[in-house]
Symmetry: C2
Subunit: 195 residues, 2 copies
């Protein structure tokens, strides 16, 4: 196999990149200065070498514990549970949350064979049972599996912590009622608040 086909085959393994796109990217890189391909190769190498899981919250990090767990300004009494590390990025960009996180590493999914033992549920319960946490906000995705995971966590944490809460579901800001799905509208109506 040639170097061109070889790189295209590796790129085509990435999600959302088909064989044609992979070839197009390869030819694109061949038109750029070699330094660009080298920087990309280096960045890939460093990723594998340096990134690991935080031993406290299971977030992806280069320093253990991670920057959020060691930040003295974060409120350790509020713990936000997310499915993946990428979700932390999304919440941090919103700039609202000043507590700490716990990364589950996925969501319960019996069909895919993902049970509680495949997630960091034991570590979460242990962490909460140490007593410093006052509220656990379950921020798993508002999908069928995310909801089931939230329900499961609520049961596991009952009695261990004063409050277990769930992020609100409703119409997205800037969204259009006309194009919202029925389930979202139903949720938005039942979760209505006095003005």
């Amino acid at each position: 196999m040639s170097a061109i086909e070889d790189l295209a085959a590796e790129l085509a393994k990435l999600p959302g990149i088909g064989r044609k796109t992979a070839l197009r990217l390869t030819y694109y890189l061949l038109k750029q200065p070699p330094a660009q391909s080298r920087r990309l190769a280096e960045a890939l190498g460093l990723l594998v070498e340096r990134v690991r899981r935080c031993s406290v919250c299971a977030n992806l990090t280069e320093a253990d514990p991670c920057a959020i767990c060691t930040d003295p300004r974060r409120d350790r009494a509020i713990l936000c549970v997310v499915e993946e590390s990428a979700d932390i990025g999304a919440i941090e960009r919103a700039g609202e949350f000043r507590g700490v996180y716990h990364v589950l590493g996925g969501r319960l999914s019996p069909l895919d064979g993902v049970g509680p033992e495949d997630l960091t549920v034991t570590q979460l319960v242990e962490r909460v049972s140490r007593g410093a946490v006052k509220e656990v906000i379950v921020a798993t995705n508002p999908s069928l599996e995310g909801e089931a995971t939230a329900l499961y966590l609520q049961r596991q944490l009952a009695g261990q912590v004063a409050v277990v809460s769930r992020i609100a579901r409703g119409l997205p800001v800037g969204g259009d009622l006309e194009y919202a799905d029925g389930v979202t509208i139903a949720q938005a109506l039942s979760a209505r608040r006095a003005m």
Copy 2:
């Protein structure tokens, strides 16, 4: 900058990959065995190290001259001129052409500052003037710039070679007349052939 952001920034430099997709790909790689990222990094390194331009036809190749230029079964009397190496792949997959190629390295584009001196036009004229070539098929893209480039090449090659031809334009096979654009239909009509 962290290793995650670093790789995402490098991936986001690729065409068609935005900041969000780059982050998604990075997180995807972090969920895969490290060997996958390492193979991708290696393939990138080999690409830069091994791939060069064929000294005969300017095709991207690992061996110089390239596999097509050294193939004794190819007909050196028919020369097909394409814009990019990737175009050779497309023509080879069609399985119809048994001649040899010449890669221009782009198309004339005064707006982007691409003139004949930025393409391999001199090498093409030299190659043709050696006399072995009986026909030059100009297979630049059927775009405005591809047509202008074809016209320019036809003038440069006039007198050097018996036939300069242009690939046919018309309705694509499997296409639908109803959805074809007017320029394509006009071309298909004017290039009609007796049945």
